[in-house]
Amino acid sequence: MKKIISLVLGLALVCACACAGAETIKIGVLTDRSSAAAATVTWAEAGAILALEEANAEGGLNGVEFELVYRDTASDSANVAQKATELMNEGCIAILGPKSDGEAPTGATWAEENKFPMVTPCTMNTRVTIENASKYMFSCGFVAWPIAKMNAKYAADHGYQSAFFIGNDGGASGDSRDFFYRELGEGFQNMGSNQVSSNSTEFSTIISSVVGKDPDVIIGAVAGPNFVSLINQGDQFGLWDECDYLGWYTCDSTNTTALAQAGAYPYGKVHGVDLWPFWMDEIEGNAEFVAEYSRIGQEYYGKEIYPSDMGYTWYVGIKAIVAAAREAESLDPEGMTKALANVHFSTKYGDDLYFRDFDHVMAHAYYYVTAVEDTTGKWEIPVGEVYAVYTGDEMLPSKEDMQAYATEMGYTFRDLSAE
């Protein structure tokens, strides 16, 4: 018996030593696998894994593979600091996260205090870029200010005169509303605003109140279960017969799949911004990218997943970190931060992606679309009818815009290019 125990312990020791010897370059990921918002995590992580696989297929970094290390914040900003610290102490070279815009200010504060690079795929907002700006924080996702501008342009082009806002309680939500009305000016009627908690799925009373007010358009800042519930209940109350919806993540399958499968999607009534035009076969390599993304969903999560903007932003975030690691003079936090600030890379949907020097926001190409039913028979979910394609430079606020806004609001604008 003693011999058997000794043999087992010896084997375990050998295995541990072997594992410890397998070297990888760790990239931390702040994810959400336990809150209500975790319903979208498969789509998000699939994008990160796809980028990781591509990086390792290219040989990693000097033959050493990259590895993703996850920590779960449950989309709660109270958990961000602890989980990020764990990732830092585990030897990660940078962190992708946090996942939600509600956590982003805390993430920026942590990054600044710990001088550790963080690339967030959440929707960026002025609570981070102005109120909590950090040279260690980078944004690879949507940005609420240009979203508001694009929604405002669409509203103006179509002669809308009034809007009602329904959003969650994150920072991006408020920006998407406030900048929308700023863009349209005082002649545009603000018919009211409801901000609900991120786990709220009961909208019937809100919808009932909105129907009575009869706005031209709903400005929406909800996603995931919130979005599905709002659109479905709006459909049941006939809200989309009376007005349209303007938002973002418009053709993101986490928002659209359940509605389409239940026959409750109001095709032609939902408009907004997308980053990943998955339906556009004319984009070279798009179909293959979609197929690879789907394969990740089957292989790692055992489920069929359709394209998601959220997945695309996580993909771009990992791509940025990998590209920075390959160009960095050193993989320590300062070396990675400097490399991220200067990184340039391409994807199928944008040549020369980079983080702007003064606010560390990535200038994507934005597709403004109307979600319509696919007539080719290829897609069960809505696809986008493109209204306009904007460059990041066209729609993102300039340094002067941000300086002026900060002055107006009584904040200090921190020009990151000066650091």
Binding site: N199, S204, G212
Partner: protein
């Protein structure tokens, strides 16, 4: 506010309240009959929703409304057995146990159905809307009101007109005496718990075509109905329905007149009501 708009808001508030009532009624029954707060009630509600997604595909949505509460109640039977060793001990232990059960059920939902947002398709006869005072109202919401009202009546009838109800009221008044009279109190507890859980399951089933549910919603749903419990009275089953309707109406009219305070209204109402009567405004004050 126009008359049609008023009535639409009124009916919306009533339907909102009736859906909440189904979850609160179950909790109140369990608290009243067993002196135990089931913090896992929300998880059974979500379990009811997810079971509906699967069962409705096989047998249709309306038959699933009969099957799902029975299945969820059956699961509740085992949970009640697990709480037995904690009877008579500090209530906090039961609350922690049931909250832990909620985590287990939510994780089981993830294992079985996966992490995705789902929505139940409505049968054709429940789709669409009808005009009430000139404003469209969803047929399905009227259906929910009707079903919930039927459940409320059945609940009242069970408590006040049946032997089971008589025993339940006796247990609430004097449990040891009922036990001494030879009634199997443990069996009664199992039945009460299963009914309470089953009602939550029915609420979840009715909710399946309305909200895009996520597995982990089971951990937060209970918090949304706590104000109703406190307003009606924790141990006052009769107070659940008026409290639920009150909160539903406050939500509905609050969304119209105070949209910026929408999130805070139920809690604010709870605080006001508890100042009036800490045991619940629909509970008789002590000494009266």
């Amino acid at each position: 506010m126009t008359v049609p708009y008023f009535f639409q808001t009124l009916v919306t508030g009533i339907s909102n309240g009736m859906i909440s009532y189904l979850m609160v009624a179950g909790v109140s029954l369990i608290i009243s009959g067993m002196n135990m707060v089931n913090f896992g009630q929300g998880a059974f509600y979500v379990l009811g929703t997810y079971l509906t997604y699967t069962i409705a595909e096989k047998v249709g949505f309306v038959p699933s409304l009969l099957i799902v509460p029975i299945l969820v109640g059956f699961v509740g039977y085992f949970v009640e057995k697990a709480t037995r060793p904690l009877f008579g001990k500090n209530m906090l232990y039961v609350m922690l146990l049931t909250y832990g059960v909620a985590y287990m059920i939510c994780d089981a939902i993830v294992m079985i159905w996966g992490y995705s947002i789902r929505l139940q398709k409505l049968p054709a006869f429940l789709k669409g809307g009808i005009k009430i005072f000139g404003i469209r109202f969803p047929i399905y919401y009227l259906f929910v009101i009707a079903v919930s009202a039927a459940i409320a009546f059945a609940f009242w009838y069970m408590i006040n007109r049946t032997k089971l109800g008589m025993l339940t009221r006796a247990i609430i008044s004097d449990r040891p005496m009922v036990a001494n009279l030879g009634v199997n109190v443990n069996q009664m507890f199992s039945i009460l718990f299963m009914i309470g859980i089953g009602i939550a399951g029915l609420g979840g089933a009715l909710n399946a075509p309305i909200t895009g549910m996520s597995p982990k919603d089971g951990l937060s749903v209970f918090g949304n109905v706590m104000p109703i419990l406190c307003i009606g009275g924790l141990k006052n089953m009769d107070g659940c329905l008026p409290a639920a309707l009150l909160v539903g109406l406050v939500n509905a009219f609050g969304a119209v007149y105070l949209p910026q305070y929408y999130n805070v209204l139920p809690a604010a109402l709870m605080v006001i009501c508890m100042f009036i009567n800490p045991r619940g405004v629909f509970t008789k004050k002590e000494g009266r």
